[in-house]
């Protein structure tokens, strides 16, 4: 957060950008204690850089969520399928 943004208008203890990045996971997970959530959200509102960091973290998580669409090697797929038929019969 630049000097101009930190002009004392925000009440309560200010968080630095360095602190914000360590709280991002708690925030995204919804486990941040109430006492920290307010200052966190105030900071994010006023600091475009931390807002960008938070957005990138969400984009990272979203993209990870798409990695599970993994295709097996054809040989491996056939092998498991053949095994499936065998297991059902046993």
């Amino acid at each position: 957060m630049s000097k101009t943004k930190r002009n004392g208008r925000t009440p309560g203890p200010d968080l630095t950008c360095r602190e914000i990045v360590e709280l991002v996971t708690g925030y995204v997970e919804g486990t941040l204690p109430g006492a920290q959530r307010g200052p966190f959200e105030r900071h994010i509102t006023l600091c475009p850089d931390c807002d960008t960091y938070l957005a990138q973290m969400r984009q990272t998580i979203d993209t990870l969520g798409e990695l599970h669409e993994y295709s097996l090697a054809p040989g491996q797929r056939d092998q498991l399928l053949a095994a499936f038929r065998g297991w059902r019969q046993s």
Binding site: T16, C17, R18, M57
Partner: protein
Amino acid sequence: MPSTDTPILEEHHLLACLRAGDERAFLELVERHHAGMVRLAKVYVGSEALAEEVVQDAWSAVVKGIDRFEGRSSLKTWLFSIVKNRATSTFSRERRSVPLSALGPQDDETGAAVAADRFFSSSDPSLDGGWAAPPRPWEDAGRRMLSLELRAELRRALESLPSRQQVVVGLRDVEGLEAAEVCDLLDLSEANQRVLLHRGRARLRQVLEEAFEDGSHPA
């Protein structure tokens, strides 16, 4: 997060199909979770080859046990617990397996999410801790995140995380398990789970950041 919850109806349907011996349902389950199961097994048994063996064995247990699955956990949580049990029991007698907890709270839980030199260090409290090298917004992120190249890079980065981070991020963000399910499965405290997730995600964001910077400023 698109993968966080499998709709209950979908899971019921999948389960019914599996019990009826539907091969497509089985393949769907395999394609969705096989890689994640191997990732989990690998933490316990060390090598990729042994992990594949464990997972093969786990699939057999899943198919044979599907009629006894009571649905007290989600289907995928059940899958992963079978993998974990197989990995620890089958290979502990060969002394090749490492329990996850024995990996200890090592250096994979310490350190900052973002390199210290990207923030100002100053005795002036109005400057200290502010960004010196702030992240730049990712241009055209929606489209670029779809690129196979970027996804392959993200997958490689995930696979090179320290093993506990890798498993926690994999189960949470790739496989879509809940925090409580992961804690239960891996015998981790909630705080521990969150720290591993935090470290792992922060590293992956950094890898994507580097990929975006490279892409937007060709040499």
